[in-house]
C-alpha cells in the first residue's frame, strides 16, 4: 500500500507541526449536542431523521413540536409503543438540542 503509506506519512508530518487545527479553528461539522443526541435517534428514525419505513420522519418538524412530543411521551400523556421508554432517558437540555437539530434538517 505505498500510496496509503505516503498519505499517512504526510499527515503525521503536518500534524506534528502542532496544534494548527486548534489555532485555525477548524470546525467539525455537526458536532453540536443536538447532532450527537440525534445520532442516537437516527438508529430508528433514519440518518438525519429522514424517517425509516414505519418510523416517522423527524427532519423538518417544528422544534417546539418535537420537544412537546417528547415531554408528552415521557409523562404518558401521549401513548406510544416505545417512545415513552426512550423519552424518559433525556434531559430537557438534550431534548431542546435534538429538537432544534431536527427542525433544521
Amino acid at each position: 500500500m505505498p500510496k496509503t503509506k505516503q498519505i499517512a506519512a504526510t499527515v503525521v508530518a503536518v500534524s506534528l507541526i502542532g496544534s494548527l487545527a486548534v489555532a485555525s479553528g477548524v470546525q467539525a461539522a455537526g458536532l453540536s449536542l443536538g447532532a450527537l443526541v440525534a445520532s442516537q435517534c437516527n438508529t430508528c428514525h433514519g440518518t438525519d431523521g429522514e424517517g425509516a419505513q414505519s418510523v416517522p420522519r423527524l427532519a423538518g418538524l417544528d422544534a417546539d413540536e418535537i420537544f412537546e412530543s417528547m415531554k408528552a411521551f415521557a409523562s404518558g400523556e401521549d401513548t406510544a409503543s416505545i417512545m415513552d421508554r426512550v423519552a424518559k432517558g433525556y434531559s430537557d437540555e438534550q431534548l431542546h438540542a435534538v429538537a432544534n437539530y431536527y427542525s433544521e434538517q
Binding site: T4, V26, T43
Partner: protein, 437 residues
C-alpha cells in the same frame, strides 16, 4: 505485538513531541490533525456506522474501512431468513454507499496491529493510521465444550454470523422431517445478541406451525435465565401455548426451554451424530442442531494483545482500549457494560466514537457521551417485543439512565405487540441506512 500505552507513547514522542505539541496536548491530539487518517477495522455494524458518521462529522479526515468480505449480511433479521420469512438478499449489503461518501473501502484481512508503528498489517501489506478503530465482532471459543470446533458448524450450524451459516441452517430447517426435533443450544453470558436464540425459537414455532406442525423445539440453555425472559414467556404462551414449570423450565405443546442447572448446559457436541451431551450426562440427538458456541472478541483483538483474561477488550468511557489508549474498540468485541452486545449498542458506540474523533481533530470538546440500545425481537411476524435502555456517563461510570427504558409486556394488547413488530422493521431500515449510507 508491540503494545504501548499513553505513558510509553509520551516517552517515545520524547522532546520533539513535547516541543511541537505543547505540554497540555496529549499525544492523541498531537497525531490527530484535522485531516488525519482514521482506519476502521471491520465493516459490520460498528465499523460501517463509524465510517459513515466520520464522513459527516470529520469531513477533512481520510477514512479507510478495512473489511475482509465484499458483502455484509446483517445478523438482525437473519432469524427471519432462517425460518423462510425473508431472503438472504434482503439482509445483504455492499459498500458502494460508503465509497460514494468518500470512504476508502479496502477488502482485506487485518492479520496484525503494530500499535508502536501505528500501522495495521493486512494480507497484502500494511496500512498506516493516525487513529485506529476496531469493530471486528466475535470469534468462537471452543475451549469449554468437548468436540466443539469451527468444523462442527458445517453439521450443526450456529448461524451466529450471518452468511453461509444462515443459509445452511435455513436449508436444514426447511428440510427437517415431519415431527422432527430442532435443538437450539445458546451459550453462557456474555454473548452477541442475548435475546437472539429465543426469538429464533419463536420464529421456528411460527415456521413449523405452517410447514411441520408436529415438530418440536428444545432450547438447551447454558444459563439459568435469559434476556427479556418475562416478555418471551408471555409471548410464547399467548401465541403458541405453554407455561413455566415448577422446576423453572418452560414447557409448551411444541417448545421446551431447559435451564442450565436442570440439564440444559451442553458440555459436549458430536457433529457426526448430531448429538449434544448435557452436564447431567444426558444425550440429546436432534434432527437439526443449532449449537451456538461460546464467544470472545474478534481474533485480531487477541492477536494484538488487547483482550483481558476472559477474551474481551476492556475500554474506558470513550471506548479507548485500556491496553492501548490510542486504539478505540467498539461493538461486540468491547466490554461495554451495562450495554449489551447488540447491533444497536454497536451503532450507538460508533457514533460517539466518531464524535470523539471529529472533536479531537478539530481541537474541540465532544458533546457529552450519550448511549442507547434497543433490541426488538419477534414472537411471530405480527408480535414484537423490545427492550430499551438509554445510557449516560455519571460520576465517572457508564450507567443506565434511571426511570427510562425497560421491556413493555405483562398484558399489553396484541395491538401494542403488532406495532412493535411493525416498528421493528422500521428500526431495521434505520440502522442499516446508518451503516451503509
Amino acid at each position: 505485538m508491540n503494545n504501548i500505552n499513553r505513558r510509553d507513547f509520551v516517552k517515545m514522542m520524547g522532546a520533539a513531541g513535547a516541543a511541537t505539541t505543547g505540554a497540555i496536548l496529549l499525544p492523541f491530539e498531537a497525531y490527530a490533525g484535522a485531516n488525519g487518517h482514521v482506519v476502521v477495522v471491520g465493516g459490520g455494524t460498528g465499523g460501517a456506522t463509524c465510517a459513515n458518521y466520520l464522513t459527516r462529522w470529520a469531513p477533512n479526515a481520510k477514512v479507510t474501512l478495512i473489511e475482509k468480505d465484499s458483502k455484509y449480511s446483517t445478523c438482525f433479521f437473519s432469524n427471519e431468513v432462517i425460518m423462510g420469512m425473508a431472503t438472504m438478499d434482503s439482509i445483504t449489503y455492499g459498500y458502494d454507499g460508503l465509497k460514494k461518501r468518500g470512504v476508502n473501502v479496502v477488502h482485506d484481512t487485518v492479520t496484525g496491529i503494530d500499535t508502536g508503528g501505528k500501522k495495521v498489517i493486512t494480507g497484502s501489506g500494511s496500512i498506516s493510521y493516525d487513529i485506529l478503530v476496531l469493530s471486528p465482532g466475535i470469534t468462537f471459543d471452543h475451549s469449554t465444550v468437548d468436540g466443539s470446533s469451527d468444523a462442527v458448524a458445517e453439521q450443526m450450524p450456529h448461524a451466529w454470523k450471518a452468511g453461509p451459516q444462515t443459509s445452511l441452517l435455513a436449508k436444514q430447517i426447511a428440510g427437517m422431517r415431519q415431527g422432527g426435533l430442532l435443538i437450539i443450544a445458546p451459550p453462557e453470558n456474555p454473548f452477541r445478541c442475548p435475546p437472539g436464540p429465543y426469538e429464533r425459537a419463536a420464529l421456528a414455532l411460527a415456521h413449523f406451525k405452517e410447514h411441520n406442525p408436529t415438530a418440536q423445539v428444545v432450547i438447551l440453555d447454558a444459563k439459568e435465565k435469559h434476556s427479556k425472559q418475562g416478555a418471551f414467556r408471555e409471548g410464547w404462551t399467548r401465541v403458541y401455548g405453554g407455561e413455566a414449570t415448577a422446576e423453572g423450565n418452560f414447557e409448551g405443546p411444541n417448545l421446551k426451554w431447559i435451564k442450565g442447572s436442570n440439564g440444559g448446559k451442553v458440555v459436549e457436541v458430536d457433529g457426526a451424530t448430531n448429538t449434544v451431551i448435557t452436564e447431567d450426562g444426558e444425550e440429546h440427538k436432534g434432527d437439526v442442531v443449532n449449537y451456538i458456541p461460546k464467544q470472545v472478541a474478534g481474533a485480531i483483538c487477541k492477536d494484538a494483545g488487547l483482550v483481558n483474561a476472559t477474551g474481551w477488550c476492556d475500554v474506558d468511557l470513550d471506548f479507548k482500549s485500556k491496553v492501548c489508549d490510542i486504539v478505540f474498540v467498539i461493538g461486540d468485541a468491547s466490554v461495554a457494560s451495562p450495554m449489551p452486545k447488540s447491533g444497536h449498542s454497536a451503532s450507538s458506540q460508533a457514533k460517539n466514537v466518531a464524535a470523539t474523533i471529529a472533536a479531537q481533530m478539530a481541537g474541540e470538546e465532544a458533546p457529552p457521551w450519550t448511549g442507547s440500545n434497543t433490541c426488538y425481537s419477534f414472537i411471530s411476524e405480527k408480535y414484537g417485543i423490545s427492550v430499551v435502555a438509554i445510557y449516560a456517563v455519571k460520576d465517572g461510570k457508564r450507567v443506565k439512565v434511571k426511570g427510562a427504558g425497560g421491556v413493555a409486556f405483562k398484558g399489553k394488547s396484541l395491538r401494542h405487540h403488532a406495532k412493535e413488530a411493525k416498528y421493528a422493521r422500521g428500526w431495521y431500515k434505520g440502522i442499516t441506512s446508518d451503516m451503509f449510507g
